[in-house]
């Protein structure tokens, strides 16, 4: 073993002294990467974790004559879970969000898969087309859909002039289907990007190897392509599921009663009735449901996709 003579302090500049604080290179690198994370962590701590913690506390409080009182109890949660109106809203929310996320992820996967494997020559153009859809405002698009699906909208006009119906179909707008259409339309571009990025990491050689070793086209997809791209697919699903579950503009503008979701009720609790503790409890329950569902999917997919 070689033993180096310890340098005297005059010989060391500042960086070398800092380096001396950590015994090994690994230790130093670990600290360095932690240091690099600090700004983002600080931001999240102050602007996300902090407010969330405050609302978590509120959810166990009550309001009396428009005053928040720290009277610790779980009444808000009990009310949120037992009252029929909230139960229906939760069920609606979860159903719509899961269906919207599933449709979105499937469509986005198909698109990303096509541009990665079949239409490789046009991939830049097609990727740009997908992103361009994000340039238009969210509200603008909702109103665009209203003009398509409404009583006086393009769809009904067309159906009327073709003589297929004798009065406008009002269920096209203000329905669960309308809410799903609008959500999917909004979410697909967001879902394409992570899936496409993940598919970029699947090499042609790996797929060829799977085929070569005896896998049919579907087996190669199922056992190699999809597992390798799964992280991206899961990110896309989580992303769209969370956004859909928290949305309260779409349900209000196109959802009707069958498309009503919990977000609207929560917004009312905070903005209209000043029932902050109940609103906070509803929010945390939504969060809990969302995380529970994503965990189940994550866990199940780990066992299935091997």
């Amino acid at each position: 073993m070689a033993i180096r003579a310890a340098p005297t302090s005059e010989q060391l500049d500042l960086s070398a002294r800092v380096a001396m604080l950590f015994r090994t290179r690994e230790e130093r690198e670990r600290w360095l990467s932690l240091a690099q994370l600090t700004p983002a962590m600080a931001f999240l701590l102050v602007f996300l974790v902090g407010p969330l913690a405050v609302f978590l506390i509120y959810s166990f409080w009550v309001t009396r004559s428009y005053q928040l009182i720290s009277d610790w109890n779980i009444e808000n949660y009990r009310e949120a879970l037992t009252q029929g109106v909230y139960r229906d809203l939760f069920r609606n929310t979860i159903e719509i969000a899961i269906v919207a996320a599933a449709i979105t992820t499937s469509l986005a996967y198909t698109y990303a898969h096509l541009i990665r494997f079949q239409l490789r020559r046009f991939q830049n153009v097609l990727l740009f087309v997908a992103i361009v859809a994000l340039f238009s405002g969210y509200l603008v698009r909702i109103y665009a859909w209203r003009t398509i699906l409404g009583d006086e909208g393009i769809m009904n006009r067309a159906l009327l002039s073709l003589g297929l119906v004798d009065k406008p179909l009002s269920f096209l707008l203000y329905s669960r289907a309308a809410a799903l259409i609008v959500l999917v339309n909004f979410l697909v571009p967001l879902a394409i990007l992570p899936i496409y990025a993940a598919l970029q990491n699947v090499s042609d050689d790996q797929i060829d190897a799977a085929r070569d070793l005896g896998a049919g086209a579907f087996q190669a997809f199922r056992k190699v392509t999809l597992p390798l791209a799964w992280n991206g697919v899961f990110v896309a699903f989580s992303f769209t599921f969370i956004i859909a579950a928290g949305d309260y503009v779409t349900p209000q503008l196109v959802g009707g009663t069958s498309g009503a979701m919990i977000g609207r009720a929560i917004a009312d609790k905070f903005g209209v009735t000043f029932a902050w503790p109940l609103g906070a409890a509803l929010s945390f329950l939504t969060l809990a449901f969302v995380l529970a569902i994503l965990s189940v999917i994550r866990f199940a997919s780990r066992r299935v996709l091997r």
Binding site: Q206, A209, A210, L213
Partner: protein
Amino acid sequence: MGAPAGGVGALASTEAAAPGRSSDGSAASVDAAIVVEGVTKRFKQTVAVDDCHLVVERGAFVSLLGPSGCGKTTLLRMIGGFESQDGGRILIHGKPVDRLPPNRRPVNMVFQRYALFPHKSVYENIAFPLELRGVSKKERRKRVQESLELVRLPGVEDRRPTELSGGQAQRIALARALVGRPDVLLLDEPLTSLDLKLRKAMQLELRSIQEELGTTFLYVTHDQEEALTMSDRIVLMNEGRIVQEGEPAEIYNRPESVFASHFIGETNLFEGEVVAVETAGTRVRVGSLDVAAPIGDVSPSVTAAVSVRPQAVAIGPEVVHDHENRFRGRLERRIFLGNLVRWYVEIDPGVIVTAEGPAEDPPLEEGTDLEVSWRRDDSILLPHRP
């Protein structure tokens, strides 16, 4: 119509040719591991593989050798089923495979960049083809074990591919390709990404694994030394065509074209005009010099090339009398290669002869006048452009 005919028209009848019933072809091709008949592949305007004919005998180690872009990988991928040919047909162990997807061909492939599955352990990677075939768990375990022993890397079953070195990853890729006992193993420049020392060791090991199994290996490489080291036969390709085929020594000693003499090994190449065809040999005029070469398939006044290997060239101050080719020149450069020395001698303005041999004592000084010589039979006469 009627009875299935050979050649190009036979493409349509390939599905009809049932196993055990060889539709046509010579006795050699029925028994061969791979038969490639007039296979052509076009990519838009360019012809990647141009009317290739090839027979690979069972149990042989055959290399497809050529510069990059010569079509060797495309030909290999067509045999593996990853590209479809535009013409001709391919038989493996006597059965036409043209309509079969890669998963139904009795061949496996080792890829240049290993192509291991990063989401599976080493064990799961090697067991993958067995699992697809429904081999029992117990049998799988046994065969994976055997494969790992074959590639001399036992005990790494639980590792992830990312935890392996390049050499280890390539061994695992080899084990995975061999575990299903293919009739033919295709290897697409599998050693390219390894460093020189490891590559040399792996060349010998690949060869001994091949001998141990008796499996037919078809090996694509652009490295002539690698092909010479490992192969029973070398198939030399250039610009989409097979230009020469033979045993390594044959290819090296008797190149049939300027390309072949140039691509395989170092050589001196002189181009000139055939001035005399005599009973003893041919004389070719190169600049102001006359070079003696053996009798060849040339007639007077055509252009031809003469190739001489550097180790056939003698160098020294005094004349070697039984050498038909003797030229005086000036030593331009002397390069010490360790085990050998290489000399560059200018024998005519712009005409440099390279000689190679054991170090001379005392060393010749650059700039000295001396003589280079070689036997007429060491000249290889090549028609200029085939």
